[in-house]
Structures are given as structure tokens and as C-alpha cells.
């Protein structure tokens, strides 16, 4: 018998009917939908035990304390360290995504010479040749670390050492010029201030260690009609800080110095400032015109700011007029003003003031990516990530976030001395080397970072001052060995010096200073940010929402 098409149809019909009574269709239905729940191309988190470790952020010189959640040996989450004396558990938005930076596509993974792939040996040879040919300059963006001291001792033989200070410290520059006290020893005694007049400083937007002022503000000022801590923001546009400030004074762009002078004059005319303080040359009318606000407004502002003391003026960038205003206000060296920390740090040469002829410039990875040395020499730049605008002949891959052991000196502009240690939590990729390790190869006699840190712990222990701050704080004198001190510091404890005495810094001004210093830059959250890239999750802030404008330096 021959099969007809109709037979085929009937057979198919029977098969279809039968199939419905088997697991096939139902199991397939179920399994395909389960497949959509576990698509092989969707990454899944690793299985494994989770632990929390204390560490410190090394992405900018503020060294905020962090608690890092680790799963299967990798950082998977970051939160603030509540007991940290400076940032008090607060972090900037970037800190929370920083643990993903090490996998950023822009991560620098091998030595680059003028853009093409090279090797450490070649870089080493080139650098040694440079050392032999002449003197080298080493530029550091985070002075005071063990690594920094290694740089300095290297420079003693081979050249000169310069630092790139962060804006907060640069803003303290005039006081150093007038008093001789290095900026790295100066700090703002915010905790005891009654009124802060900020000349465009982004106090609530990533200024200094983010936690320090925001915590203070939220406890003493936020939303209060008559706050304990009065924040007066002087700014052309309504920045975040201006929006949150107790008062926002709107002035013409670039007229900060003029307003400072006007305020000083108003204070003198209203007899709110001592007679021996200098009188600015410009009349109130002139300044008022310059700032586009009325004379009455200036007088009124002067009266309000002294109404609740101590009063302190803060500028975004170095601004001699604002500094002079502080002198007039008597805020320099006074409680709640500009104070000098106990341990007097040395003063460093600013990187861009380095002169003379150099055969090579070595730039540490702590230097902001947009820094350009104004020295005509071969540039060896250490960096964790590519894409910085800064000039470089050699790009040398440095360890990334939480990948190297480093010590954390006092945060810029902090009123108290602190010291602690950040241990490496994640293994760096094999190719990575820090500047210190590189120099150790050039000059094998130099000590290692570990040894310097060990020595520093020894000194701290024998100085017997200050306390170790953890959940509860213990006096250093109560510890019984430097090793114990070191161990504590490595596990998240922070050494805190006794609070500074008032005084310690004097500024006398014969006459009102010539306007100096850069115009205040629009400093925001990324000013102190060192890497040329941002944590990928920062897209939440400027791409997936309109909360932030795209930061200029980012390369996502």
C-alpha cells in the first residue's frame, strides 16, 4: 500500500495528540522559561564566604576610612567607616563605586612608551640613563606617605622633589607666605566655628574629606532657621553648596577678592575689626560696583558674619584677599579659625615651581591626571588608568584601588594630626609596579615602603602621644609594643594626635595684599579625584539621571 499525503497528515495528527500526553511539551515550556532566568551570557556573582575588612581610600589625599565587603577574596561593596575621625563614616559618591575601578576598561595594563607597548626593563634602562645624564625631578600628589619619603631621599642624591597640592591646601598658601608655617601643617578648625563665609568653596560638594563638613553641617545647620553653624555661600551661581547654605550671596563672577576687600573695609568702618588691621584701598562703592551688590548689602553682610563667632572665611582656590579678610577677622591662629597642627611638617616645593634643567621627570600615580610639568624633560608617569590629559613619554602601570600597601597621613586642611595604614586587599595584576618599587630597582640600597611604615609605627609608639581610634579609642601609652600599634593600624584603627593649641601661627599684614592667586575654579566633587576615569557606576549620576553634569575629566 502506498502512503498518501492524507496518511501523513493523519499520522501527524495522531503524533501531535499523543505528544500532549507526554512530558515533552510541558517540560520544554518549563525549561525554556527557566533558561530565560539563567541566560548563560548574564554574569552571576561568585559563591563564597563574605567578610568585612577595614581600609582607607587612596584615590585622593583625604584617605577616608572605608569598610570593604569581600567575597571570595574580592571587594564587592564599600561603605564608610563610622569611627574615622575625619570623614566619620561618610564617603563621596565615587567612593561607593571605587571597588570596580580596577576592572575599568581603561585600566593601564602594560608599560607604554609614546603610546606603544613597551616593557619595564626598557623603562628602567631609560630612567637609569636619565639619572646618569643629569638630575631627575620626582613629582608627588600625596606627600607625607612612606613612599613620599622614599622619593625625597632618592631626590637628595639624584635631583629635586616637588608636590602637587590639592585645592584645599593651595587655598592655604597665603598664610604660609605670611607666617612661614607650611600649608601641610595648617588646617581649618571647622568644628569650633560659628560662621563660615565660603567664597565659592564647594564645602558640601566634595570639598576636603566629604564627610568632615557635611556631617558637621547636617548636625548644626541643616534646615535650621537660626543654625549653630552659619554657612554663608558667596557664589555667582547657585551651586549645591549655595542651595543648602544658610545664606547665598550672589556676586558677579570673579569678584570674590573685591567682596573680601569690601567686607574688610566695612568691618573697619563699622569698628568691628581692630584698628591695626590693614584697610583695603578700594572704596565700598567701587567694590560694590565690581560685585554688583549694594553697599547696604555689604555692610549688612559684614554685620551678620561677625554676629556669631568665631567666623572663618574659606576660598576655593588660593586667594590673598580672602586670606587677608581672615587676618582682619582675627581668624588666623584662633580657635574656630585657621590653626596649626602640633606636628610641624616640612614645606614642599610646588611641582610647577621646580626650575633648572632635568633629564627626566617621574610623576607618581597620586598626581592628578591633568597635571603637566612645565619642565622640558622625558616624563615617566605612573598611572592606574589611561586617558589622562597629562603629558607622558612613558606610561607605567601602577597598582590600582586597594591593591598596594600604603600609609595614610593627615588629610589636607584637617585640624588634627592623624596616621593610619591601608593594607592591600586585592592582588594587583602581575604587570603593576608602584613608583616606590620602581625606584627600589634603580637604587637597591633604598628601603622598602613596608620598612618605612614599620619605622614610623616605631616612632609613633615611642612618642607616646595621641590615641588609637577604633570603635572605642585607646591611648598610645596604653599599648605595649610598636608591633601591636602597627597591627591595630593595619586593621582599621586610626592614630589621632591631641587637638592643636590655639596660636602656633601669626600673620601680620602691613597693607592690604595685591590681588593674587588663580580665579576660583568651579571646584566640585572631582577636584581631588586623581584617576582619569570614574567608577562605571557614576553613570547613575550624569547619564542615567540629570543630577550631575558630566565631569570633564571622566572617561567612562
Amino acid at each position: 500500500m502506498k502512503l498518501t499525503r492524507r496518511d501523513l497528515f493523519t499520522w501527524g495528527g495522531g503524533a501531535a495528540a499523543g505528544l500532549l500526553l507526554t512530558p515533552v511539551p510541558w517540560k520544554l515550556l518549563d525549561d525554556t522559561s527557566i533558561w530565560t532566568q539563567n541566560w548563560p551570557w548574564i554574569p552571576q556573582p561568585a559563591h563564597g564566604p563574605v567578610e568585612v575588612k577595614n581600609s582607607f581610600c587612596s584615590l585622593c589625599p583625604n584617605g577616608c576610612g572605608m569598610r570593604v565587603r569581600m567575597a571570595v577574596g574580592w571587594p564587592v561593596g564599600i561603605s564608610g567607616m563610622p569611627h574615622h575621625p575625619v570623614n566619620q563614616g561618610a564617603l563621596c559618591p565615587l567612593g561607593f563605586g571605587a571597588h570596580q575601578l580596577n576592572w575599568h576598561p581603561r585600566r593601564l595594563r602594560q608599560v607604554r612608551y609614546h603610546g606603544r607597548a613597551s616593557s619595564w626593563t626598557e623603562a628602567l634602562v631609560a630612567f637609569q640613563k636619565a639619572c646618569a645624564a643629569g638630575s631627575v625631578a620626582i613629582i608627588d600628589g600625596y606627600p607625607g606617605r612612606a613612599a613620599s619619603s622614599l622619593f625625597q631621599s632618592f631626590c637628595k642624591q639624584h635631583g629635586s622633589y616637588g608636590v602637587v597640592l590639592c585645592t584645599e591646601e593651595r587655598a592655604l598658601g597665603p598664610y604660609e607666605t605670611w607666617s612661614g608655617v607650611p600649608v601641610t601643617t595648617l588646617g581649618y578648625d571647622l568644628e569650633n566655628t560659628g560662621t563660615i563665609v565660603s567664597f565659592g568653596a564647594p564645602l558640601l560638594d566634595g570639598w576636603s574629606a566629604p564627610g568632615r563638613f557635611t556631617r558637621l553641617w547636617s548636625e548644626r545647620a541643616a534646615g535650621m532657621a537660626d543654625p549653630q553653624l552659619r554657612l554663608i555661600q558667596v557664589e555667582p551661581a547657585q551651586s549645591r553648596t549655595a542651595a543648602c547654605a544658610w545664606r547665598w550671596v550672589r556676586i558677579a563672577p570673579g569678584s570674590e577678592a573685591a567682596l573680601a576687600a569690601a567686607l574688610a573695609r566695612a568691618l573697619r568702618e563699622e569698628h568691628l575689626a581692630p584698628e591695626d588691621t590693614p584697610m583695603p584701598p578700594a572704596t565700598l562703592a567701587e567694590s560694590a560696583a565690581r560685585c554688583c551688590i549694594s553697599i547696604e548689602a555689604i555692610r549688612e553682610l559684614a554685620r551678620t558674619m561677625v554676629a556669631r563667632g568665631p567666623v572663618l572665611a574659606i576660598s576655593a582656590e588660593s586667594n590673598s584677599a580672602v586670606a587677608a579678610l581672615n587676618v582682619v577677622l582675627g581668624a588666623v591662629g584662633a580657635r574656630g579659625g585657621i590653626v596649626c597642627r602640633r606636628k610641624r611638617a616640612e614645606s614642599y616645593a610646588a611641582a610647577d615651581s621646580l626650575t633648572g634643567s632635568f633629564s627626566a621627570v617621574l610623576i607618581d600615580s597620586s598626581v592628578p591626571a591633568d597635571f603637566n610639568p612645565n619642565i622640558d624633560a622625558e616624563v615617566f608617569r605612573f598611572a592606574g588608568w589611561e586617558g589622562g590629559p597629562g603629558r607622558a613619554d612613558w606610561l607605567l602601570p601602577a597598582p590600582g584601588f586597594l591593591e598596594e600597601l600604603t600609609d595614610i597621613p593627615t588629610a589636607p586642611a584637617s585640624s588634627i594630626e592623624t596616621y593610619t595604614i591601608a593594607v592591600a586587599l586585592a592582588p594587583p595584576p602581575p604587570e603593576m609596579r608602584s613608583a616606590a618599587q620602581f625606584l627600589a630597582q634603580v637604587d637597591p640600597s633604598a628601603p622598602l615602603v613596608e620598612q618605612v611604615i614599620h619605622a614610623r609605627c616605631g616612632q609613633l609608639f615611642h612618642a607616646r602621644t595621641g590615641r588609637l581610634k577604633r570603635e572605642q579609642s585607646t591611648a598610645v601609652s596604653a599599648l605595649d609594643s610598636p608591633e601591636m600599634l602597627k597591627k591595630e593600624l593595619c586593621h582599621g584603627a586610626v592614630w589621632v594626635d591631641d587637638p592643636p593649641r590655639a596660636g602656633g601661627i601669626r600673620c601680620r599684614l602691613r597693607e592690604w595684599p595685591q590681588p593674587s592667586g588663580a580665579a576660583p575654579c568651579a571646584a566640585t566633587w572631582t577636584t581631588a579625584w586623581v584617576p582619569p576615569v570614574l567608577p562605571p557606576l557614576a553613570t547613575k549620576l550624569y547619564q542615567e539621571s540629570v543630577l550631575r553634569e558630566t565631569p570633564p575629566r571622566s572617561a567612562i
Binding site: W11, G13, G14, G18, P23, V24, K27, N38, Q44, V50
Partner: protein
Amino acid sequence: MSRSSMTFGFGFLTALAVGWFAFPYVLYVQRAQPLEFRHKTHADKSGVTECKDCHAFLEDGEFAGIPKTETCTACHADRIGTSRPEARLVDSYIKKGQEPAWLVYSRQPANVWFSHAIHTRRAGLKCAECHGAYGESDEVRTYEVNRISGYSRDIEGQSILRLRSAAPNGMKMSDCEDCHRKRSIEVGCLGCHQ
């Protein structure tokens, strides 16, 4: 019995045969475990009686799962006997300090959150109630994985009809639900999912 109805019936039967007997073989792939581990032998030789002696909890209540090789090293620092698996264990894992890539029969997908602590300590379940008396068995079962969903066959249950026999009889969501319903325990989706 007309011709057409015969052809129909023939098609019907073919489908049944294929669906019930051939299909499971096509659906599941068999994989071998990296090592030959005998629970019973270990229990007898080492005198271990409790599951938790080897499958321990971390202090935060997290379940540690399969012991790491250092646990084995206690006895197997050097070869015991001359069997080939023994040799493999010592040479390629213990000496190298590597972990065998065990295929976990009861591994749930990433979207499931299961706390052994809650089920054993609070609810007082015995391990065998879900995992079966595997601790007393003296052989390594072959690991079967579903080609499409990627689930271990232990999750879906050995019987394709999902008829309940002795444990392990499946660890699918419906199995969890049945048990919870029996004990009248109310948890929402995210009580067990993450």
C-alpha cells in the same frame, strides 16, 4: 477499524514512546565527578557521625558547603593505599593546594536564597529530609544536568513525572512550597529569592 484511524493510532503511540522513554535521555547530560568520594567509608574510618562535622557553618550562620582540601589533608597528607583516585587526590589537589571542582547535586540557581541555618537550626530539619541518605551511600552518583535549563537533575527530581518517592525527590520551587504549606509557613517571593 478504518485505515485512517489506524494511522492516527500509530502516530499516537509513536509520540507516547518517544515522549516517555527517549526524551529524558536527550534532555539530560551526564557528567563525572572529579574524584571518587565515599561518604560511608569516611564515616567508618574517621568515626565522623554528624554531617555538620564536615559540612560546617561559618560564625555568621553562612553554610560553608563542601569542605576545603585542608580538611582532607588531615588524613590524606600522603597517599593512603594505592588506588588511582587516591593518587589523583593527593597529587593533583592536596599537593597543589587546589580545590576539586565538585559538581554540586543540589546547587540552586543564583536567584535562590537558601539559609541552611534557618532550616536546620530554627526549623530543625534533618539534612536527609532534603538531600536524602546520601551520607550513608558508598558511591559517587553521576551528576546529570538539564541541557536547556542547566539545572542539576536533583533539583528537578529523578522522576520526570515529579512523582514523590523517597528523598531526594526534587528541590524545585514547588517542593519548597509543599513543605512550607505543610508547616503553614508564609514567606513571600523574596523570602527565598534574591
